[in-house]
């Protein structure tokens, strides 16, 4: 069933239709929220807020346009709002298996260190660039769609993605051997 039809049914009160939309976009929404809020719990709360806000505002959704970008705009705004309201929380606990502690014996340890490195690289990026590169590379949205989501010109999105990728590629290059093993 098309998203537009599910949205129409959800707006009419069909909980199952809403559940299908959540099921389809939950992972994406959580990643976008996580790009804003480094804490997983806060990100999930923001993603939930985004879904509920979308449900309340389904009457304003234009069914002739794709549902994903419309929803992601709401989720990104919900995450940004939450970040502003919250005091800065610590990011997920840093693994104690750092390279300085000696060689990591297993893939789990390597994965943690790899994740740390990528999270640190993401943390160096301004929020909008983080969201842009996640929407572009992780979720597959076009530059134009991302521009609509973020409310900025397309050229700004291209620039944001360009600069974000440079940072991420540098971080990935440092772990190239481990990356192919883990990812």
């Amino acid at each position: 069933m098309e998203d537009a039809e599910l949205a129409a049914r959800a707006h009419a009160g069909d909980r199952e239709a809403f559940g299908k939309l959540v099921e389809h976009y939950a992972a994406q929404a959580r990643r976008v929220a996580r790009a804003v809020l480094r804490n997983e719990a806060d990100a999930d709360d923001a993603a939930q807020d985004g879904f509920l806000s979308a449900l309340r505002n389904l009457g304003r959704y234009d069914p002739t346009r794709p549902f994903g970008p419309w929803l992601m705009r709401i989720v990104a705004n919900a995450a940004t709002d939450r970040r502003r309201r919250l005091k800065v929380r610590a990011a997920e606990p840093i693994s104690d298996l750092t390279p300085s502690a000696g060689p990591a014996p297993d893939q789990v340890a390597h994965r943690r260190v790899f994740n740390e490195a990528l999270e640190k690289a993401l943390a160096t990026l301004p929020e909008r660039r983080r969201i842009a590169v996640v929407l572009f590379d992780a979720e597959g949205y076009s530059h134009q769609e991302i521009a609509n989501i973020l409310g900025v010109p397309v050229g700004t999105v291209r620039s944001d993605v360009f600069h974000a990728r440079r940072v991420l590629r540098q971080a990935l290059a440092e772990w190239e051997g481990l990356k192919e093993e883990i990812v």
Partner: protein
């Protein structure tokens, strides 16, 4: 990692995998269930429909009503403030009568004019 041009605008599958690995949340099913449950709770506790939409539907008629009331109040107030002028309006009318045709009855009588007659004259000349 394959070298890709800095200007390559196609999504990078390696960055995609890395971001999804780092940013993906755990327990997808629990998350979905929780969202749907919260949606059900909010729909049962709140009135049917988007109450913001209901309120916004009342904004224009409410504004129109308040404007009409304000206008009516202004007109009434202006009218009540003008009432003391009615006395001067009568005086002006009396003076005007003198400039116009004065009934002969007022000219030939030695008695002071009857108030009712004067009033009647004023009203006729309005």
């Amino acid at each position: 990692m394959k070298e890709r041009s800095e200007f390559d605008h196609r999504p990078d599958p390696q960055i995609r995998r890395a971001l999804r690995t780092v940013l993906s949340g755990s327990d997808h099913a629990a998350f979905v269930k929780h969202v749907v449950a919260r949606a059900a709770d909010s729909s049962t506790s709140a009135p049917a429909g988007d109450w913001w939409e209901v309120l916004s539907g009342w904004v224009r008629p409410g504004l129109a009503a308040s404007v009409a009331l304000t206008a009516a109040a202004t007109i009434w107030l202006a009218g009540s403030l003008r009432e003391p002028e009615s006395g001067t309006a009568i005086a002006d009318a009396l003076l005007t009568i003198g400039e116009g045709v004065v009934p002969a009855a007022f000219l030939i009588t030695t008695e002071p004019p009857d108030a009712d007659a004067v009033l009647e004259l004023v009203l006729e000349n309005r």
